[in-house]
């Protein structure tokens, strides 16, 4: 690789990283504001105009907090676990395209850090690694609530990971590629949600379970498990779990938009610089839907959650693959 390519890659990584971090930080505020509006409250409005500086205030507060390590905890694992949770969540963005391309400084810049041919598998793998952070955090705390949260989370994640993996197989069959860029380009005329409505619903449900969102937020169900796996965490390490969780939310919403909703394709002829905006709009709509769900639904019980994953989602996902394959064979 030549030097300017290196510079481009590093610059892109840094830019994507900070974009993601900013989005995640503000997502917390957005969620609080949207939920507040749904619940006839105002939401945070003290720090800065309309509470817009709230994320900064939170960051400063969490940075200056003491890290309390429980006496009985496995110290090294306890200190490391949040990093294990956060890093894969951020790493997933290295393969997520954020638009087609733009022209800057006289050269065409692709709006993705890298386009590997197994991007989708890479993202699934990263979300699997993320569960280690949660489970290690829960186990190393030596706290029964945390341990139970960790166990719930690993059982839940492996159960729903199957359905999530299977729900995207239909899309892979249609696009014939794992590369997210190829998949999006395959949807230039019609988004895959039209061909794969069941797949989209399955993906969405499994993804919400995968990232512990309501109604699947059992690993941190605070009325039962106090705070679940991060009960013992404080300060910056707590913030890392928090960031990781919201980064995952943005990830699955972006993946959902890329795989099913046509990604950055604008339905009318438009300049390429509009593509990231159009993608952001779709992602924002999905994120809003996730927040809306949180404001509406109660929480499953653990056995109901497992039963739903194994007895409903998995058979339906298998059926979806079968039907997709059958229709594709017949149409051929």
């Amino acid at each position: 690789m030549s030097l300017d390519l290196w510079i481009e890659v590093i610059l892109k990584c840094v830019v994507v990283f900070f974009i993601v971090l900013t989005i995640v930080a503000y997502l917390v505020l957005v969620e609080r504001k949207v939920l507040a509006a749904m619940q006839s409250r105002v939401g945070p409005n003290r720090v800065g105009p309309q509470g817009l500086l709230q994320p900064a205030a939170d960051a400063v507060k969490l940075m200056t907090k003491e890290t309390v390590v429980p006496e009985e905890a496995d110290r090294n694992l306890f200190l490391m676990a949040p990093v294990v949770s956060l890093v894969p969540a951020l790493l997933a963005y290295s393969v997520i395209p954020l638009g087609s391309h733009i022209n800057l400084f006289g050269r065409e810049i692709q709006l993705h850090v890298t386009d590997i041919n197994v991007a989708l598998l890479f993202i699934l793998a990263m979300s699997s690694i993320g569960v280690y952070g949660i489970f290690l955090g829960g186990w190393s705390s030596n706290n029964k609530y945390a341990l139970m949260g960790g166990i719930r989370s690993s059982a839940q994640m492996i159960s729903y990971e199957l359905s999530m993996g299977m729900s995207v197989i239909g899309v892979i069959m249609l696009a014939g590629s794992f590369s997210l860029v190829d998949i999006v380009n395959a949807q230039s005329s019609i988004p895959f949600v039209v061909y794969q409505p069941v797949g989209f619903v399955l993906f969405w449900i499994a993804a919400m379970a995968e990232i512990n969102r309501t109604p699947f937020d059992l690993p941190e169900a605070e009325p039962e498990l106090v705070a679940g796996y991060h009960t013992e965490y404080s300060g910056m390490r707590f913030a890392m779990y928090f960031l990781g969780e919201y980064a995952n939310l943005v990830t699955v919403c972006t993946i959902g938009a890329l795989l099913f909703l046509g990604g950055w394709h604008v339905p009318w002829p438009a300049p390429t610089w509009m593509s990231p905006l159009w993608l952001a709009l779709k992602v924002a709509a999905l994120i809003f839907f996730a927040i809306w769900t949180r404001g509406t639904l109660p929480r499953f019980r653990f056995d109901q959650l497992m039963a739903f994953g194994w007895k409903v989602l998995l058979p339906v996902a298998l059926l979806n693959i079968f039907v997709t394959a059958l229709v594709m064979v017949l149409v051929d």
Binding site: V14, M63, P70, V87, S141, I158, L162, G165, L314
Partner: protein, 134 residues
Amino acid sequence: MQEQYLPILVMLIIATGFAAVALTISWLLGPSRPDANKNETYECGVSPVGDARERFSVRFYVVAMLFIVFDLETVFMFPWAVVFKQLPTFYFLQMLIFLVILTVGLVYEWRMGALDWNTSRGKMIWRSGHDKAA
């Protein structure tokens, strides 16, 4: 080919670096005044009874086995799905047979109660799973 993966390495370095910097700043700025009460394991304000790391039942063993079986299935399906368009119909039938075998397995587990968490039959299965694990 491999240079496509280099940006991931760059991203890994940036993300880990961010984590390290954030933790270092927090370590520098945050107070550190541990005391016996603060460092006690939280259990709703009273001293915990026993250790959290005892061997207790989570009905997890069978679910883990099921997961491995079906995750392998998914792994087999991924490459099939990528090239599905180019394959002749015969390969569809092949995958169909594979799917049917696994579905039969799922139905068997379901009927044996391995997917039940609350019924007495389900508990029996889980329990025996634990004994085998031991």
